[in-house]
């Protein structure tokens, strides 16, 4: 180990102690949101993030929350620091969700940011963002695929003061209350965010009380420096070169036209430029991805190349330059609709992994399920509206030395699933099945994770369903000879009368009582040649119903007895030699 610790002007022990303290504060903020939030999407799916920023608005600590969102704070923070310079006062709380002008991602994600003052001077910010269950617009849940401009997606809030010098902005509270179908949930979740900011402020002030504001600042700067220096060292380890990859979104509606995410990564010395030139132009649907999220997903993918120890502060983002052409799906311009932009962000992560697989194959991961499938059911029951927002993940692609993982959040997210029993207790829906799907993991020396299946039956008179999924026509890629994962599917009433839905229907789907909707996710991509997979591992997969005996023979070249799960060594050798001969 080299003495690569804190900058030399700082005491290395104090440096570590402050680092501990900051991340513990950010985690505590996350805990407060989780435990006091109201909506299922926040409290159970945990679609929210927390961070602490220094006085420059740069992140110094991240809560253990959503990787893909954490890198989106800088866009909003830069604007607050610039636009409210001199106009920020103790007791202020900022709020915004506008992607075109405030650094937001999409309208349901509301940021609540509290500046922290000590002895009258601005020293930092406590930051939270949460996906709110409804901010109005043309569909319950505010994620309408078929929206063609942002004004159909709900209430748009530029950076405003929710509290002004400690005084609540009642007007703003009432506007929010009147513009959501779920006022109790939205206001409850906002209170949870405010509580988290208060906890963040309290912790930060304690640090200042101990070290003094002037004493703390150099350590915060030192954290940024250290993160930057270590990230540059990681990048230096990646061979210089230009690496290109294209991944795709299946496209929207009944007759989808694929959308391309083209990435070119230039690694030069200790910095990286990630350029999305060649990416498809923005579309008249809700999947355009505002640039804050593109930046965030890029930082996340590059951060994953580095060891876990690097402090999770903005310094590690500094060696990375992101370029996304204006007017493309990765940098849409007003008034592009963007509520369902998440899919694009996760594909940015996948595309970068695909490019980096050429440069650092040991460090990357084959494509996973493609990011969360967003599903909402809404309707009326006994005169009261109901809404279910499901954010469904996930499965991992394989790694150079490890199989993929089934039943896990996307690596760029950190989401949870909603208990079936809670859904059924609160909503007129039955969850018919929640299971893994055999033969859906991309074959490889390391197998991709299996897809999951989730099936619902409507118990209300009628339910309106919106859906955003992907990865049917362009399933998750494998690496180094690994096969792609299985494709996704969406079916109403599986069976002889089934109706196959597009991955991204452009209109709400009306389901009557008793009708069934089934979503199958994509499976994870494989890694390496399936014929090199250990026969014992294949047999184990067959025993566990994760791979069929037929697929074992045909895809892996392994003869497994479907009754005893024993490997027939001689037959396996013949199968595997036969292919070699054919080559």
């Amino acid at each position: 180990v080299t003495a690569d610790a804190a900058p030399s002007r700082l005491d290395p022990i104090t440096f570590e102690v402050i680092k501990h303290a900051l991340s513990s504060i950010a985690d505590e903020m996350a805990l407060v949101v989780m435990r006091s939030a109201y909506s299922a999407v926040v409290r159970d799916s945990m679609d929210y993030s927390t961070a602490l920023c220094d006085r420059n608005g740069e992140i110094v600590a991240q809560g253990l929350t959503l990787a893909v969102q954490l890198g989106a704070f800088p866009d909003g923070m830069r604007r607050i620091v610039r636009e409210f310079a001199g106009a920020t006062r103790p007791g202020d709380v900022f709020l915004f969700n506008d992607p075109y002008g405030s650094g937001g991602q999409h309208l349901p994600d509301i940021y609540v940011i509290k500046p922290i003052f000590a002895e009258g001077s601005l020293e930092g910010y406590a930051c939270t963002m949460a996906h709110h269950s409804d901010v109005g617009g043309i569909a319950p849940g505010s994620v309408a695929m078929h929206a063609t401009e942002i004004h159909q997606e709900g209430l748009c809030l530029p950076t405003l003061k929710l509290y002004d010098a400690g005084k609540p902005n009642e007007t703003l509270f009432r506007i929010i209350e009147k513009n959501t179908r779920q006022p109790v949930h939205v206001l409850g979740d906002l209170r949870a965010q405010l509580a988290a900011c208060a906890v963040g402020e309290r912790g930060f002030l304690k640090l200042i009380a101990r070290h003094g504001a002037a004493g703390l600042r150099p350590y915060l700067a030192g954290l940024q420096e250290q993160a930057e220096r270590l990230m540059r060292a990681v990048i230096r380890d990646i061979p210089d070169g230009t690496y290109r990859f294209a991944d795709h979104i299946d496209g929207i509606g009944e007759t989808p036209v694929p959308l391309t995410i083209q990435v070119e990564i230039v690694v030069a010395g200790d910095s990286i430029v990630v350029d999305f030139a060649g990416t498809s132009p923005q579309v008249k649907a809700a999947i355009n991805c505002p640039v804050a999220m593109v930046n965030s997903c890029t930082y996340c993918a590059i951060r994953c190349m580095a060891p876990a120890d690097i402090p999770n502060c903005e310094g590690y983002m500094r060696p990375v330059t992101v370029r996304a052409p204006a007017g493309s799906i990765l940098n849409p311009v007003y008034p592009a609709a963007c509520a369902a932009r998440g899919v694009m962000g996760y594909r940015v992560f996948d595309a970068i992994m695909g490019a980096l697989a050429q440069a650092a194959p040991e460090r990357v991961i084959a494509a996973g399920e493609g990011g969360p499938t967003l599903l909402t059911f809404g309707g009326w029951q006994d005169g009261r509206p109901f809404v279910l927002t499901e954010v469904m993940v996930g499965t991992w692609g394989a790694r150079a030395r490890r199989d993929g993982i089934e039943g896990i959040s996307n690596p760029a997210a950190n989401l949870s699933n909603q208990p079936v029993e809670l859904i059924e207790a609160e909503l007129p829906l039955e969850v018919v099945q929640y299971a893994m799907v055999a033969d859906s993991g991309g074959a490889g020396e390391r197998r991709g994770g299996l897809a999951f299946l989730r099936e619902y039956r409507v118990l209300a008179e009628e339910a309106v369903c919106t859906l955003r999924s992907d990865r049917r026509d362009h399933p998750p890629y494998g690496i180094a000879g690994g096969r792609p994962g299985g494709p996704s599917s969406n079916v109403v009433d599986p069976g002889p009368n089934r109706r196959i839905l597009p991955t991204m229907p452009m209109e709400a789907i009306r389901l009557k009582r008793g009708q069934v909707f089934r979503h199958v996710s994509a499976g994870g991509g494989g890694y390496g040649d399936p014929y090199r997979r250990q026969p014992a591992s294949v047999a184990d997969d067959v025993r566990n119903g994760k791979v069929s005996a037929t697929a074992a023979r045909e895809v892996y070249g392994v003869a497994v007895d479907p009754e005893t799960f024993a490997v027939d060594d001689a037959a396996t050798r013949r199968l595997r030699e036969r292919r070699e001969a054919a080559e």
Binding site: P12, A30, L31, A40, R399
Partner: protein
């Protein structure tokens, strides 16, 4: 500090000093021969601690090497040793309270039973899908814990209940027969049955259990999920039942073998087991609910701290227990340890923050809310890739142990750094039994920290201390500030071999002004076993809007639970008059996902009063209340506790005083207290050298099984119970 090295020839290490000094043998006469004694036995990874308490107030302690092959060997040998030294007849042993890691180890080492799982059709993968969360950010090489039941041993039966227990599809018994046949063929030793919504109506699940039992016989261990956890959320309930089944055969084998061997040795006393919630249960009950004993060791320490809090009349106490491999902390309010039902076994560290989920196997039963980190005396000091000092979680264990033990260990450990600082005796510890090689400690810390970071040796060692204190501080925050409690309102009670070394540092970091180090800190946890109470929680899942529940229904539900509690405990042989019942409810604002547990005082359980108690607890924990929002009642609870002579505070005080404290050789040595104070010549004394007059730090109190460090700016005195009472200046 790991005090005692592993030496197969030295199996028994009576904790000398106080025990021998203070329990001068008295000639036995007839009346004393009738005196009974009680044993507390706490099995740890390295040592088994025994404490014997006589009816006449005699106390004896013993540390024995744990015997993982059959822990019974160590226990019996230890009991024999103590009995010999105290001249106690086997027939005089009236009580044996036991904390064991048997269940935990079975999970950590994946040595549990070959277990099958039976679920509702369509949901056999719930166990493996878990709740999806990843306990780390940005780690593409992450591996999640493998399911305790592999997919090929998970079977489905055809049935379905709705959320209010309504039958959506009747139970198809043929599908149960098919599952039973498959389980029989697979030669599983244990089965968990977890059907959807069985917490609202367990009839299908119980029928499946009955059919399986008929088909599989008594040899197979079967757990019905709703019977051990009648609560909503299928994954957590399934996981809890699976853990229970997985460890069931191991625990029941262990307990029946131990009972048998005790009997063979003439000890007919009933075996009581410490639960993770701090209550004790009979061995039979533990056999049925082994998932409830996985944290029995850490619980014992908290129970001891709680008892101390009660006798000293301290409203708020933090228990801080640092041993050889981990540090554990919990809070005690009003004499009651804080509880949680969100626990994962095998998660490596359990910061109790509830945020880091997915690293282990959830058990949603009542646990004392213990936050545990991998930092103890034997914890190895390393630098991470950023040059940051890390203490643990890898441990040098008892073999080879810290470098300063001279047993071949080369890694620097926390103990080595404490030797370098002058906190731990640089020549020998454990009353001279364990030689310390200070030169090796210096070399190890030099190599691991000082050279790579370019620090002086003293600053490097102090860095190790500061980082360990920082991570322990985080653990304490996890049970205080993370729960909305201000640590400054608490007294820190430090025990375990290393707790008293680091306690004042932790207190300073959290602005805690008072630290207590009880007598015999090294065996304090085993001591707690003797002062635990029989405790069971009875729960009923409700899931209803609180304001829609008539007051008499609420009262009736509580009354039903109380009747169940009394019936169960009387069946265990306890007198109804000795059973104390307390009511509580888990509530949340409609729409929230996490409940708060609110005690319901007295027997008036009006929904209005319950609501007010909930609003108030919500404000206390999260800083706000929403009086207009509807409240959901999720669970009603009755906590039943048996009060008997073992709960006698006087006996506790007597035993504390009995330990007393030996007098040290009065001497001094240089000790380093960081750049602010530098190296100071520090008096080194025994506990018995302290008295009611506070002495200014720096001061080191050396005892057989622990070292207490009182740095400059703190003052120590001895209270009337033998505790070292330390006042910490902010």
């Amino acid at each position: 500090v790991l005090l005692i090295e592993f030496d197969p020839n030295l199996r028994f290490l009576p904790i000398g000093g106080y025990a021998l000094n203070s329990t001068a043998r008295q000639p036995r006469d007839e009346s004393q021969a009738m005196d009974t004694v009680r044993f507390g036995v706490d099995i740890g990874g390295t040592f088994t601690d025994l404490v014997m308490l006589g009816q006449d107030g005699r106390v004896e302690t013993c540390k024995v090497s744990s015997t993982p092959g059959d822990y019974g060997d160590g226990i019996l040998a230890g009991i024999d040793d103590v009995r010999r030294r105290q001249d106690v007849d086997a027939s005089a042993v009236a009580d044996l309270v036991h904390a064991s890691t048997v269940a935990t180890n079975a999970i950590l080492e994946h040595r549990g039973a070959r277990t099958a799982l039976v679920t509702t059709k369509g949901f056999r993968d719930v166990l493996e899908m878990r709740r999806l969360r990843i306990p780390v950010l940005y780690d593409l090489q992450y591996e999640k814990p493998p399911p305790l039941v592999p997919r090929h041993l998970r079977f489905e039966v055809d049935e379905r209940l709705g959320p209010r227990g309504e039958v959506w599809r009747p139970l198809d018994e043929a599908s149960v027969e098919a599952a039973a046949e498959a389980i029989r063929e697979a030669e599983a030793d244990a089965v968990a049955v977890a059907l959807l919504h069985a917490h609202t109506d367990p009839s299908h699940e119980r029928r499946v259990v009955a059919l399986l039992r008929r088909r599989l016989g008594d040899r197979v261990y079967i757990t019905g999920a709703a019977d051990i956890l009648p609560q909503i959320r299928e994954y957590e309930r399934t996981s809890t039942a699976t853990v229970n089944a997985y460890v069931g055969p191991v625990v029941s084998r262990y307990l029946s073998s131990l009972t048998r061997r005790l009997k063979a040795n003439g000890i007919a006393a009933p075996l009581a087991i410490m639960q993770s919630n701090g209550g004790i249960m009979t061995a039979e009950a533990a056999t049925l609910r082994p998932a409830s004993i996985v944290e029995s060791g850490p619980a014992a320490g908290v129970i001891a701290a709680a008892r101390l809090a009660r006798v000293l009349d301290l409203p708020n106490v933090i228990s801080f227990d640092m041993g050889g491999t981990t540090a554990k902390t919990a809070i005690v309010e009003g004499g009651e340890p804080a509880k949680t039902t969100e626990y994962e076994v095998g998660a490596g560290i359990n910061l109790s923050s509830r945020l880091v989920k997915g690293g282990g196997y959830p058990i949603k039963l009542p646990f004392i809310d213990v936050s545990e980190i991998g930092a103890g005396g034997g914890s190895i000091v390393t630098l991470d890739s950023t040059g940051g000092i890390k203490v643990g979680p890898l441990s040098a264990g008892a073999v080879p142990g810290p470098a300063c033990y001279g047993l071949g260990g080369r890694d620097a450990t926390f103990t080595d750094a404490m030797v370098v600082l002058g906190y731990v005796n640089p020549a020998a510890i454990a009353g001279g039994r364990v030689a310390i090689d200070a030169a090796r400690a210096r070399q190890a810390v030099e190599r691991a920290v000082a050279v790579p970071l370019g620090l002086s040796l003293s600053d490097a060692a102090f860095g190790v201390y500061a980082i360990a204190v920082a991570s322990m501080t985080r653990a304490v925050k996890a049970v205080t500030t993370y729960r909305g409690r201000d640590p400054r309102d608490f007294v820190l009670t430090a025990f375990g071999g290393n707790g008293p070394v680091a306690a004042v540092g932790v207190a300073q970091a959290l602005e805690i002004s008072r630290v207590l180090v009880p007598p015999a800190p090294g065996v304090f946890s085993a001591f707690g076993l003797l002062f635990s109470e029989v405790e069971h929680e009875f729960v009923a899942s409700r899931f209803r809007r609180l304001d829609g529940i008539p007051e008499r229904d609420l009262a009736q539900s509580f009354a039903d639970l109380e009747a169940r509690a009394v019936a169960a405990l009387t069946a265990d042989g306890y007198a109804p008059g000795s059973i104390r019942l307390r009511r509580a409810a888990d509530l949340r604002y409609a729409g929230q996902a996490y409940e708060l547990t609110v005690p319901i005082a007295g027997d008036r359980a009006s929904p209005v009063a319950v609501a007010e108690a909930f609003h108030d607890e919500h404000r206390r924990t999260y800083g706000h209340r929403s009086d207009r929002d509807p409240i959901d009642l999720i669970t009603l609870k009755v906590l039943a506790r048996v009060e008997n002579r073992t709960t006698d505070d006087d006996a506790f005080v007597g035993a504390l005083r009995h330990f007393g404290g030996g007098s040290g050789q009065r001497r001094s040595r240089p000790a380093y207290f960081g750049r602010d104070h530098g190296t100071l010549e520090t008096p080194v004394i025994g506990r018995g050298d302290l008295d009611a007059m506070a002495r200014e730090g720096p001061l080191i109190v050396e005892e057989y099984d622990a070292t207490t460090v009182i740095p400059p700016g703190a003052r120590g005195r001895l209270d009337g119970f033998g505790n070292i009472d330390i006042e910490v200046s902010p």
